[in-house]
């Protein structure tokens, strides 16, 4: 009897231990095709979309192959489908492996599709699929997404997953593209109080554009010389209620980031007009170390919002050779002029969002929720509708940090003497 008991125990234990491996869902690495990016385009037929897959080749660039592999780092395939869930199987007529979205980094949508009311139906499939993460980036392209993926030929970072990861995270650091993901898109679309910013990119160059200021451009408007990739990431596509309604430039995206508490820009370099010499511009690094402070009041149905933006600025150049280290008054004067410039820019941008976009692009509804007790009150107030008539005052507090590696410069007159 005892032996029988032991045998039963051991067999049950063995069964349980063997089942730990989860063999039912086993898939070897080389049996999967990892999709890094999905491109979505319109299709002339009602209810259909064109799906483009950017499939990475895991063998390229890995140590084992020793760089000797002649395979291409990526495979691109386009097909017409109902959505990007069922298209996985259709793609298997060309691709030999099971298509996996486990490493999906970006969803690339053409502007044409993003401007359609249908877009929200298409993109909501992403919440259903188990493998698609809510951290996936949403990139809007000027041209068709298929074309964008085909034209994108990075010279140095040929592996597509690395390219998109670096490109987007660096762009978010400099503030030229918004720091957003799918989760943010759904959140903004569902709460219906703010506008959502999606990353804007392009591989097509504008021919006859002259850039006014140094950051005031959209993707595709900068003319780079030399030999490099045509892809440019800059600016944002603006979404209202899940439909794209416009776009803003890189500089406007940065301004938006200054007003936004939900996203931090790590490396924001820009230039200001030199108050001591009209011809030059001073380079500066703007850092937001502390959060913005908001204050909200209602006066006879009109909302009044005060935003205090604390910034920390490092002056990186001194083109008019003022020599700030010795000159307290000049520093104060510079601070004043910068404060004025920044406040003007911010106010101007807010005005633009109120009049043109009819909504805010910097999650302003989130901090003002504090002044409401219940969601019902907040919904009745309807921030989307109230925002265009709201009075918004911006106040920038500047603190200076370093003045470059050496604070002193020679006097211009002495050098020229």
């Amino acid at each position: 009897m005892g032996q029988f008991k032991k045998l039963t125990k051991i067999s049950i234990m063995t069964f349980i231990i063997l089942s730990l491996t989860g063999c039912w869902d086993k898939k070897e690495l080389d049996q999967k095709a990892y999709v890094i990016g999905i491109g979505l385009d319109t299709h002339e037929k009602e209810g259909k979309i064109k799906v483009t897959y950017l499939v990475a080749n895991p063998e390229v660039g890995s140590q084992q192959s020793g760089g000797g592999s002649t395979e291409s780092p990526e495979e691109i395939i386009s097909l017409v489908a109902d959505d990007f869930i069922s298209s996985r199987n259709t793609a298997n007529t060309v691709i030999s492996k099971e298509i996996s979205y486990d490493l999906l980094n970006v969803i690339i949508v053409s502007e044409e599709l993003a401007r359609k009311p249908d877009f929200i139906r298409v993109i909501y499939s992403a919440t259903k699929d188990r493998e698609i993460k809510r951290t996936t980036e949403l990139v809007i392209t000027k041209e068709r997404a298929e074309k964008f993926i085909l034209n994108n030929n990075p010279f140095l970072e040929t592996r597509p997953h690395k390219f998109f990861e670096f490109m987007i995270s660096r762009g978010e650091e400099t503030g030229m593209i918004p720091n957003t993901d799918l989760n943010g898109f759904f959140q903004v679309a569902e709460s219906d109080a703010d506008l959502f910013l999606g990353i804007y990119a392009s591989t097509e160059k504008e021919k006859d554009k002259d850039i006014a200021s140094d950051d005031d451009f959209m993707a595709g408007e900068v003319r780079f010389g030399g030999k490099t990739n045509d892809t440019q990431f800059s600016g944002s596509a603006v979404f209202k209620e899940g439909i794209m309604i416009g776009k803003i430039t890189g500089e406007e995206t940065r301004i938006s980031s200054l007003l936004d508490n939900t996203w931090e820009v790590a490396d924001f370099m820009t230039t200001f007009k030199d108050p001591f010499d009209e011809r030059y511009r001073i380079s500066a690094r703007v850092i937001k170390q502390r959060k913005n402070r908001y204050d909200f009041k209602q006066r006879n149905g009109k909302a009044i919002v005060d935003i205090r933006v604390p910034v920390y600025i490092e002056i990186l150049s001194d083109p008019s050779m003022v020599n700030y280290a010795k000159n307290k008054e000049k520093v104060d004067e510079l601070k004043k002029s910068m404060k004025k410039t920044m406040e003007e820019h911010l106010t101007q941008y807010i005005k633009y969002t109120q009049e043109e976009l009819k909504g805010d692009t910097f999650h302003l509804s989130v901090p003002i929720r504090k002044w409401f007790w219940t969601l019902q009150e907040f919904r009745d107030f309807d921030w989307m509708k109230s925002y265009p008539d709201a009075e918004i005052n911006v106040n920038v507090d500047i603190r200076f940090g370093e003045f470059g590696r050496q604070t002193k410069l020679p006097q211009l007159e002495e050098v020229r003497d």
């Binding site: 809510r134 959140q187 569902e190 504090k370 219940t374």
Partner: protein, 369 residues
């Protein structure tokens, strides 16, 4: 081989409570609470914890007059043999139904989030096999395992929560009252039974080393799990905002899929095994107490032999429904609503009857502590 001789200390006792109730933050309980309360879900949890204090304290009071008896014996003693048995049977049905709904939901989580190709029936059988084995080993071993693994399970949970708090935006928890104070009260009253485990835990009351430990452990467990679930609710709202949070089926799993720890992406598989272990302990304990209750009703001494019976029953009913994620979700919602009033009013009623019958008059009981 009587394995129910062993007793458990306060450490093991609190660990069991903390895992049995605390794990609820990772299934669809938050979704059920969010539905009414929206972003005030965390207030609802705190309020439910406060509400649960009343029945729990009264229950402890009742037990103070009946040391060494378990819940079923106390019920028989108070309501008489006939009514007591009926009440116990109803409790057993409610308990087993809850286990069916809960295990079904967990199988659905594993099936939709992690093992998509494995048939749900296989997952179900595996899960229940492990839990049945755990239950058969008896409360002492369940307690020991719970206590030994508690730090690992809670540390991983808190890492997930801390990283999420970092990724989320605090302002999302405003407007502070969510859909209004009425809705908060409604949601609390409807779902207070997530703490009803503390009522069923009376079944192992005589197995805790001393009555003092039982009393302290129950109250401490209640406070801990209330804070823990409340914190988790704050986390979910901070990441997803109230609009999305109530649409997600399993917020906890969406959260661990969303966060990144430094340069590590796809960290959900890191948390998954820990979560599974917590699940095993939780259902082992549930199976154990339902077996004890059934044994009490049928007057069987060897309750271990009832565990296979209950497990088979649970698997068979659990596999049955179509589209489990929807059916079971509704079933859980209705069960929570049904059990809530029972949980709120049965202990006070027991206390009242005990008071009237004069159970508290014998000298062994200190009424004021």
């Amino acid at each position: 081989m009587k394995q129910n001789e062993g007793k458990i200390g306060i450490k093991e006792y609190v660990a069991i409570i903390s895992l049995a109730i605390g794990t609820k933050l990772s299934d669809d309980t938050p979704t059920i609470i969010f539905e009414n309360a929206r972003n005030a879900g965390w207030i609802v949890v705190l309020l439910m914890g406060l509400m649960a204090f009343i029945p729990v304290i009264l229950l402890i009071k009742v037990f103070s007059a009946h040391k060494g008896k378990d819940l079923h014996e106390v019920i028989i003693h108070i309501f008489g043999r006939f009514f007591g048995t009926i009440i116990s049977i109803l409790l057993l049905v409610a308990g087993v139904a809850s286990i069916i709904a809960d295990t079904g939901i967990y199988v659905d989580i594993i099936g939709t989030m992690y093992f998509t190709k494995t048939p749900p029936s296989i997952i179900y059988v595996m899960l229940m096999l492990v839990c049945a084995y755990g239950a058969k080993r008896g409360i002492e071993q369940i307690g020991t395992v719970a206590w030994v693994l508690l730090p690992y399970l809670k540390i991983t949970l808190f890492i997930a929560i801390l990283v999420s708090l970092n990724a989320g935006h605090f302002d999302y928890i405003f407007p502070i009252l969510g859909e209004g104070s009425m809705e908060i009260l409604k949601a609390s009253a409807k779902n207070v039974s997530i703490f009803s485990d503390l009522f069923f835990i009376g079944l192992i009351a005589p197995l805790v080393t001393s009555f003092k430990d039982f009393k302290k452990g129950t109250l401490l467990g209640l406070v801990l799990v209330t804070l823990e679930i409340s914190l988790a609710m704050v986390t979910f709202v901070m990441i997803f905002d109230y609009t999305t949070a109530e649409m997600l089926s399993y917020p906890f799993h969406e959260t661990i899929r969303y966060i990144q720890i430094g340069f590590l992406q796809n960290v959900e598989t890191l948390f998954f095994p820990f979560w599974l272990v917590a699940t095993f302990i939780r259902f082992s304990f549930y199976l154990y107490i339902s077996a004890v209750l059934l044994a009490g009703i049928l007057k069987i001494n060897e309750f271990e032999y009832l565990i296979p019976l209950i497990t088979t029953l649970i698997i068979l009913i659990g596999i049955a429904p179509d589209s489990p994620s929807i059916v079971l979700f509704n079933m859980r919602q209705n069960l929570l609503m049904l059990i809530s009033p029972v949980f709120l009013f049965l202990p006070p009623l027991m206390w009242l009857i005990a008071k009237i019958r004069g159970d508290f008059k014998n000298g062994t009981v200190q009424e004021t502590n």
